[in-house]
């Protein structure tokens, strides 16, 4: 658990960050909370000769809830997110999910940006961002650009972000309707055996719109359009939930690990999604 030598940078401005990234290419990585990257460096599984700490960059820690739009800076910690009343009122699913990430000590340090940017299939925020149809804002040498969370993840640890780009914030429309974030894990601090993020809008006793995403059941988060479609227009009854689950099971691709074999994970994925849909519906 002793990392290899690295150069540490703590720039004051984003221009400097971009310049360092351009200079060092994939030998450089930016660090937000460091709770994924630093353990990987200590295990010598990540080689980062140039580590760029973002904590002195202004403007990355803001949360804004304004006119139906939510923006969360990359350096906002899970702890900040949990304790922001305006955000909780506007998008309670964020708090419900963040409370199930790691443990309180990690949540003081771990950030939304790091969780979204890292591309770790075990992280909770990517699936949640896909459920909420969030936009991911990146800054690079050519200025800012925006990518939909649903288009951002390519494979485990592989995202649409270029090596010389930095994730600065995520934004989304204030979610509507009922919500639920359901997660099964072996212990506090663990990644999900299966986790589901669900938002459902109910009008006149039936589902007007639904968004369903799951975590750690593939090498990328899985937002299932087919599962959403299976719910829309129904009364979210047992048959509808069952067909949504069937659709989701068609889209996930879990791998065996210490949490259990594939058959178990697929079963639990179905149970967790069912519970999440039922809870979201009950709140819709």
């Amino acid at each position: 658990m002793i990392p290899a030598a690295f150069d540490y940078y703590r720039p004051k401005g984003m221009d400097e960050v971009i310049a360092l990234l351009q200079e060092h290419g994939d030998d450089a990585r930016v660090m937000a909370g460091g709770h994924s990257l630093i353990p990987m460096m200590k295990l010598r599984m990540a080689e980062v000769p140039h580590l760029i700490d973002l904590q002195d960059i202004d403007g990355l820690s803001d949360i804004s809830v304004d006119q139906g739009r939510i923006t969360i800076g990359a350096m906002v910690t899970q702890h900040d997110l949990i304790n922001h009343d305006g955000l909780t009122a506007a998008a309670p699913i964020l708090r419900e999910a963040a409370l199930q990430i790691a443990d309180p000590q990690v949540r003081y340090m771990g950030t939304v940006g790091g969780n979204v940017a890292n591309g770790d299939p075990g992280n909770d925020m990517p699936g949640l961002m896909q459920c909420l149809d969030a936009q991911i804002h990146l800054i690079g040498p050519d200025g800012e650009r925006t990518v939909a969370a649903r288009d951002y993840y390519e494979a485990a640890y592989m995202t649409d972000r270029e090596d010389d780009e930095v994730l600065v914030s995520v934004s989304m429309d204030t979610p509507q309707g009922g919500y639920a974030y359901e997660k099964q894990k072996r212990k506090i601090g663990d990644y999900a055996t299966a986790a589901a993020a669900v938002q459902i809008v109910k009008v006149g006793g039936s589902v007007k719109s639904a968004s369903v995403a799951m975590t750690n059941l593939s090498d990328v988060p899985v937002w299932s359009e087919a599962a959403c479609d299976a719910l829309v227009g129904t009364a979210c009854d047992a048959a509808a939930v069952k067909s949504a689950v069937a659709a989701m099971l068609g889209d996930i691709d879990p791998a065996e690990d210490n949490r259990g074999p594939v058959a178990f994970k697929r079963h639990v994925a179905g149970i967790i999604l069912t519970r999440a849909i039922e809870r979201a519906w009950s709140r819709a």
Partner: protein, 805 residues
């Protein structure tokens, strides 16, 4: 003089003696981060060691090239087996009569095995240099299954080729270590053949690891001027380490000082000797500088002593109405690449022969076969006396299986088979003499407190509701009644590497009436500095607050065998009381002289000696201590000191009754512990608060082992659970509320009647948690499913019973 007047009550309270929930004196420094652990030791010029470890579970070491590592600035040395061989330190003896490579000698036998030791001026440089040592391996077939190993042509221990006799008798195969037999095989088989009912079951007690919060480490400092070696380390038995170090190195024992400073948990993991200790010593001798070695978490989990890994097959015979008539147990014990179990020499499977448990079983037979595989060596007693967790899990599962076979209530089955109070001292079929017990009283108290009948009624209702589709949660009632065997042990049959398992205490009373006592044990969190002072306070009438307890420095402490197997209170605690009584005997003579009466005319009264029948005439222990040093007393030499080396006449046998109520989500496999009740009888209770803390800690480690904690290997011998992400170490979040309770049945042979408690909750807790899981599915036909009961294995059990259809 028996009624406590307010004055006597106050004097008694001031002593803070036995029975008082005195706050732990250690905690002032621990809670302020002021402890002094091995890694806190920093010496001038100190170098740092780090290991090159094998990525393979079985491979030949073709070559080791040190050049690139040696070229890195700051690297002082790279040691290999070739460098240690001239000192004959490339192999070392294990506690189990085997030998173990210090550094890979031609081949490696498990993943993470030590191959080379890099010594550098800086911890970071050492880690960088490890990556620069080029080792060429030639992979060999890997054996991770002991049953396969016993059939395989692959020879794991080529150094033992042709040796058909091991330390514990004949070897049947080149991967076989020993067979250990106890009891009456013929008689047991006869009973089984003619029994009305026989229940048979095979169970795997999985491999796990003690995982103390502080990993293992050492700092060696060889002073070449005075020829003295000082070794600080994470040692549960510092005196034994000194003797072994002397025997191995040839350095005379008076020139070796071994110090165990504060230790952050041991749980058996720090009993043995590890290659890191040896390498730090050699490196210090070679370089003439202090050398520190501290392993990281992954190294600790993958290479230091594991626990359990027992395949146990049982046959239990009974009458139709549930009276047990015989027990047969066979164990295939996976010991890994070397037999490095930490057991008394004559017990290669520890005290597994306590496996008749708390029951009056007329005849029994036990056979244990030890086997080599490509896994890390160890087999230590993880928060238990030698293999007692395995024995208790075995019998407590066999009882449950028999109850199923008999279609009988498992609590009642236990009750009708308990050894009765009047049968103690009771000689069990496998030889042990249980000192004292009152099992029926404890069991009845436990069942009444939890409303056992009510729980069974609720459970039956839940089963019906489940069948009707009204719930997906089942309810399990876990029972366990355990008897431990701790306090090793009588020198006549217990030794480690030839050293008898006595223990010791040396007391020095200061002239002003305070004291220091030194013991041969070493606390790793047990609170010895608190509790041993309480024993002494009650024995010698000096307040516990005025008594310093010191352990762990072999230059100052009397020789002792250390702390593990719940032996500190039964053995060193007894030595403390006995030494205290020597002090008191001398104090009595001094008091009599000062009071101008005959020795027999004074009696001890809390903190003083009083003239019999005239309590207003007295001398306090403070006054007596002062006189001992400052007054010429005819026929009595000055000073007030005593030493006791205590060879226990027998082991002690703590027992307890545990009940766990659990709800299990059949669809996800998630268990939820609703209630846990633990009644412990550890004999005389020294500090109830510390007992409660020990029970909480032991139960939490039991929960861990039962519900998920394991060292798992894949087919290639790769450790799959090498970090705390996958190795389950429960936190406050996973731990339920524990209800603790007690009865008191003192040990008749122990000076203060105490039996030891640190390990009871682990020993009794594991089967209790496991039985709760298994009991939840009993109504649906489950007979036995192996631990650890993590989510997917519980789900799998439900799945196999068709509960997901």
């Amino acid at each position: 003089m028996n009624d406590l007047t307010p004055d006597r009550e106050e004097r008694s309270a001031n002593l803070k003696g036995m029975g008082c929930s005195r706050k732990r004196v250690e905690d002032a420094r621990f809670t302020q981060g002021k402890g002094n652990y091995v890694d806190d030791i920093k010496l001038p010029g100190m170098l740092h060691g780090d290991f090159v470890r094998s990525p393979y579970a079985h491979a030949r070491v073709v070559s080791i090239n040190k050049d690139a590592a040696m070229a890195l600035p700051g690297v002082v040395a790279v040691l290999t087996a070739e460098d240690l061989a001239p000192l004959n330190l490339h192999w070392m003896p294990t506690l189990a009569g085997d030998k173990q490579m210090v550094l890979a000698d031609g081949k490696v036998l498990f993943q993470g095995q030590e191959v080379a030791f890099v010594v550098a001026s800086d911890r970071y440089v050492a880690a960088d240099a490890v990556e620069l040592v080029e080792v060429e391996y030639e992979e060999l077939p890997v054996l991770t299954d002991p049953f396969e190993a016993l059939k395989s042509d692959v020879v794991l221990r080529e150094d033992l080729a042709g040796q058909t006799e091991g330390a514990h008798g004949p070897r049947k195969h080149h991967n076989h270590i020993f067979t250990w037999e106890q009891g009456d095989e013929t008689g047991t088989n006869q009973v089984l053949d003619n029994a009305e009912v026989v229940a048979e079951e095979t169970m795997y007690y999985h491999r796990t690891h003690p995982c103390p919060l502080e990993t293992c480490g050492s700092v060696a400092s060889m002073d070449k001027v005075n020829g003295k070696l000082t070794l600080w380390g994470t040692f549960q038995a510092p005196h034994v380490v000194r003797t072994v170090a002397s025997l191995l190195s040839g350095i005379e024992e008076h020139n070796i000082r071994v110090v165990s400073p504060d230790i952050g948990g041991g749980f058996g993991n720090k009993v043995g000797v590890y290659p890191g200790y040896v390498c730090s010593i050699v490196a210090s001798i070679v370089t003439g500088k202090p050398v520190k070695w501290v392993e990281d978490r992954m190294e600790n989990l993958m290479s230091t002593a594991f626990a359990r890994d027992y395949w146990m097959t049982g046959k239990i015979a009974a009458t139709k109405d549930g009276k047990i008539t015989g027990l047969h147990c066979h164990v295939t014990a996976d010991h890994g690449g070397f037999d490095a179990c930490a057991d008394p020499t004559k017990f290669p499977a520890g005290f597994m022969n306590i496996c008749t448990g708390s029951y009056d079983i007329p005849v029994a037979y036990l056979a244990v076969d030890g086997v080599y595989t490509n896994k890390a060596p160890g087999g230590v007693s993880y928060r238990c006396s030698f293999r007692v967790t395995e024995a208790v899990y075995f019998i407590e599962r066999m009882i449950e299986v028999l109850a199923i076979e008999l279609d009988m209530d498992a609590a009642e089955l236990r009750r009708i088979n308990f050894i009765k109070k009047e049968q103690f001292p009771y000689t069990a079929a496998l030889g042990w003499e249980y000192d004292s017990g009152d099992y029926h009283t404890a069991w009845d108290k436990a069942l009444k407190t939890v409303d056992y009948d009510g729980l069974r009624k609720e459970q039956a209702e839940r089963v019906e509701a489940f069948k009707r589709g009204e719930t997906r949660k089942l309810m399990g009632v876990g029972l366990s009644f355990f008897t431990e065997i701790v306090g090793a042990g009588p020198v006549k049959n217990c030794d480690i590497l030839g050293m008898g398992m006595f223990d010791s205490c040396e007391i020095r009373i200061h002239p002003t009436g305070s004291a220091i006592a030194r013991l041969g044990t070493i606390s790793q969190g047990q609170g010895h500095a608190t509790t041993f002072a309480q024993i002494l306070a009650s024995e010698i009438g000096i307040s516990a607050d005025s008594i310093t307890i010191e352990e762990g420095d072999t230059d100052t402490a009397p020789y002792g065998l250390g702390t593990y197997g719940s032996r500190s209170t039964p053995v060193a605690g007894a030595a403390t009381a006995m030494a205290g009584r020597k002090i008191r005997a001398k104090a009595q003579m001094i008091a009599a002289y000062l009071l101008e009466v005959h020795d027999d005319d004074v009696e001890f009264d809390i903190d003083r000696f009083v003239v019999k029948g005239a309590p207003e005439k007295f001398k306090t222990m403070k006054e007596i201590a002062y006189a001992a040093y400052n007054q010429a007393i005819p026929g009595i030499e000055p000073g007030l000191e005593a030493v006791s080396y205590y060879d226990p006449p027998n082991m002690t046998y703590p027992f307890g009754a545990y009940v766990c109520v659990m709800d299990i989500d059949v669809d996800t496999g998630v268990p939820e512990i609703r209630r846990f009740y633990a009644l412990d009888d550890c004999g005389t209770r020294i500090n109830p608060m510390i007992i409660e803390g020990q029970v909480h800690g032991g139960l939490t480690e039991a929960l861990a082992v039962a519900l998920g904690q394991e060292i798992a290997y894949d087919k290639l011998g790769n450790v799959k659970t090498g970090t705390l992400m996958d190795f389950f170490l429960p936190t406050a979040w996973e731990v339920p509320n524990y209800e603790t309770d007690y009865t008191v049945t003192p040990s008749p042979h122990h000076p203060i009647g105490a039996k030891g408690v640190g390990e009871s909750p682990h020993v009794g807790g594991v089967p209790c948690f496991s039985n709760a899981v298994q009991d939840a599915f009993r109504a649906f036909g489950l007979r036995h499913t192996n631990m650890p009961h993590d989510h997917w294995r519980i789900w799998q059990a439900a799945n196999q019973l068709g509960l997901h259809d």
